[in-house]
């Protein structure tokens, strides 16, 4: 498969992470009353961002490695009729 699923997953989590963490930085502390005063947007946004970047990194390393694998296992197309 040419498309490595880790790349779109990484991209989505990176964007979500930046959005959440950015919002967490700028937001009013009052909205964190329900999360017991913890700025969960900032903390969880950072977690998502790190996860997203790791996925992109793995995906980019996997693309060159993955193409070699594909040569070894050509997908079978024969079907019983």
């Amino acid at each position: 498969m040419g498309l490595d699923i880790r790349l779109p997953i990484g991209a989505l989590f990176t964007i979500l992470g930046v959005l959440l963490a950015g919002y967490g930085l700028g937001s009013n502390a009052a909205i964190y009353q329900r999360s017991m005063g913890i700025n969960v947007n900032l903390i969880w946004g950072m977690v998502l961002l790190v996860f997203g970047l790791v996925m992109i990194l793995l995906g980019r390393r996997g693309v060159s490695h993955g193409s070699k694998l594909e040569d070894r296992n050509p997908p079978a197309k024969t079907q019983p009729k």
Partner: protein, 597 residues
């Protein structure tokens, strides 16, 4: 919900559709569309295998059971799913993948005969359409309850009734679009994405909830002791919240129902059939089993926290609603009383206590703990679970319809391009039928309950048929077909003659007029219905097979255990060997059972 939540939702939908577009040019043959070209790596299949089952019933239902029965709900995972997943990976996958069957019903035709395949294909196709309809219905109701669309609908000054229609139409369109574009690959890739979103959306819920309650130890003090033990009290139905004894639990839930689902349901097996090699197909359920065994902490624990949350005013608060009528009845923790739609008053049981709406455990937890921003993430995690459940059903439906019904009975010998076009068409009418089912659910709630009951009768005996088919070469087509029918009849008969305590005869049982046995709970009745169905099917298949002519052994190579070469594992690293992986998975599950005994 504020602007940031909306942006998060938009980004999510853009990615879901984007993956469909990226995969579009790869779909050239019907194999690409229905089986993802059999070219997906094991870990992706594994996560999709898990995710296809993570639909509405799973996430909302498991949290609801967590609140109702406590940590014992994890038996659905530790006794139920995990052993079955190990079994299907190690013992059954060689026949599913090795026979090159394109679907589970097709395996039944190769192993048994046409009528057994027809029976399975038609009942399965009907079931998937209704499950995806129920999923859609539940999602639209949830969007109403969470008041997600209230503000935009008010701004457009249209009737609030439209929230339901818009939710149904929108979810149907998204699922339709990404399956039409990329077929099974698109569904599988989106399921992997959704798996990570579900984990990302629900983990902070558990984190904040546990912190609020004061940690696990404090939680065990705040709820009745039986709620934090999975085995203590299982000796008798009277001493645990589920009302089941260990034998009914292990045999009914563990052996019959879970093996029946995870080993024979094409919805999940299809994900493993898409794998790029035999070894990858066998590892698919084993890889899925690792996150699966930890899922109780993600989906059951929130339910338990919901009943233990310290609140200033215990509970009638539906955090979601500001216009909640003051009816004076209290819920339990974050679980509100169930409101009767027709009267707007809480439903009461025969003792005058309010009936609790456990299905609101997860939604109310989200609203209670998540500030705007994170709330958007929580909502897309929920939407992701609904849509992956729906898409799983639709992709299974279009394959079974095209290969096992259309190609077999309506138009054989057409070109591959014709079947590819039919697959796309089947996706459209599969979604259309799901919408019809969702609307049927709004009008005839009892019909849905009845259908689910009938499906349970049809499914319960299936595992006996597959077990005999794969491991006993003497089993014949007549034996399988009539065994299945008698198993279904036995399930219906058992259900019609028994009743869970506290229920009235009717949809809950005893509809044949007399009550031969009273079960302590509905769950116990379900488990025993399954045990009866399985045993009847097992015995009848053996008896009829022995009385009918066996198939020549030459025709059964690759379909039956004793006539198939074992796939060799020696050249693989240990962590890629299915047997080693399976043993590790079972050992870890035992540890979890011991820790939370």
């Amino acid at each position: 919900m504020t602007i940031i939540d909306w942006i998060i939702m938009l980004v999510y939908f853009a990615f879901v559709l984007g993956i469909g577009f990226l995969l579009k040019r790869r779909v050239k043959t019907s194999t690409d569309f229905f089986l993802a070209g059999r070219a997906i790596p094991a870990w992706i299949c594994g996560l999709a295998f898990l995710s296809a089952n993570l639909g509405a019933q799973e996430v909302i239902g498991m949290a609801a059971s967590g609140a109702k029965y406590g940590i014992a709900t994890s038996h659905f995972y530790w006794i139920g799913a995990i052993p079955a997943m190990v079994f299907v990976g190690i013992f059954m996958m060689p026949f599913y993948y090795g026979s090159r069957a394109r679907s589970v019903p097709e395996y039944l035709r190769l192993r048994f005969d046409e009528k057994t395949r027809g029976l399975n294909a038609i009942s399965f196709a009907t079931m998937t359409v209704f499950s995806s309809g129920i999923s859609m219905y539940a999602m639209a109701r949830l969007i109403q309850t969470l008041h997600i669309l209230d503000a935009p609908v008010q701004r457009l000054s249209v009737s609030p009734q439209w929230i339901f229609h818009v939710s149904i139409a929108f979810s149907a369109l998204i699922v339709l679009a990404y399956i039409l574009l990329g077929g099974l690959s698109s569904a599988i890739y989106n399921e992997v994405l959704q798996f990570f979103l579900i984990v990302a959306g629900f983990s902070p819920l558990v984190w904040l909830g546990l912190k609020n309650v004061g940690g696990w130890h404090e939680l065990t003090k705040r709820v009745p002791a039986a709620y934090t033990h999975s085995w203590v009290g299982m000796g008798s139905p009277q001493t645990n919240p589920m009302g089941v004894e260990w034998f009914g639990l292990v045999m009914g839930l563990g052996f019959v129902l879970s093996f029946g689902y995870w080993c024979t349901d094409f919805l999940v097996v299809q994900r493993a059939m898409a794998a790029d090699s035999m070894n990858a197909a066998r590892r698919t359920p084993l890889i899925a089993a690792v996150p699966k065994m930890l899922f109780p902490f993600l989906v059951i624990l929130p339910g338990l926290i919901a009943i233990a949350v310290p609140l200033e005013t215990p509970a009638a608060v539906v955090a979601s609603s500001s216009s909640q009528p003051q009816h004076g009845y209290l819920g339990l923790g974050l679980i509100p009383p169930k409101i009767d739609d027709s009267t707007g008053r809480p439903k009461l049981d025969e003792n005058g206590h309010p009936v609790l709406d456990y299905d609101l455990a997860i939604p109310n937890m989200l609203l209670h703990y998540f500030p705007t921003g994170l709330l958007g993430l929580g909502v897309i995690a929920l939407l992701a679970s609904f849509m992956s459940g729906m898409a799983g059903n639709v992709t299974a439906f279009n394959t079974v319809w095209t290969y096992d019904i259309y190609q077999s009975y309506i138009r054989p010998n057409a070109s591959d391009q014709h079947y590819l076009a039919m697959g796309r068409l089947a996706t459209v009418f599969g979604v259309a039928l799901s919408i019809a089912a969702a609307y049927a659910a709004t009008r005839f709630n009892n019909i849905m309950d009845m259908l689910q009951l009938v499906f349970a009768f049809v499914n319960a005996p299936l595992f006996a048929t597959f077990l005999l088919g794969m491991f006993w070469k003497r089993a014949t087509g007549h034996g399988a077909f009539f065994g299945l029918i008698s198993g279904t009849a036995a399930a219906a008969l058992h259900h019609g003659l028994t009743l869970p305590s506290g229920a009235v005869p009717g949809i809950k049982g005893a509809w044949l007029g007399s009550v031969l046995h009273l079960y302590p709970s509905e769950m116990a009745q379900n488990f025993w219905t399954a045990i009866w169905a399985w045993t009847t099917c097992f015995i009848m298949t053996i008896v009829i097979s022995l009385a009918t002519r066996p198939r020549p052994e030459g025709e059964l190579a690759g379909l039956v255990y004793s006539l198939t070469e074992r796939p060799s594992e020696e050249h693989l690293a240990w962590y890629k060997r299915p047997l080693a992986l399976g043993a590790a998975v079972i050992a870890l599950t035992l540890v979890l059972n011991l820790v939370l005994r």
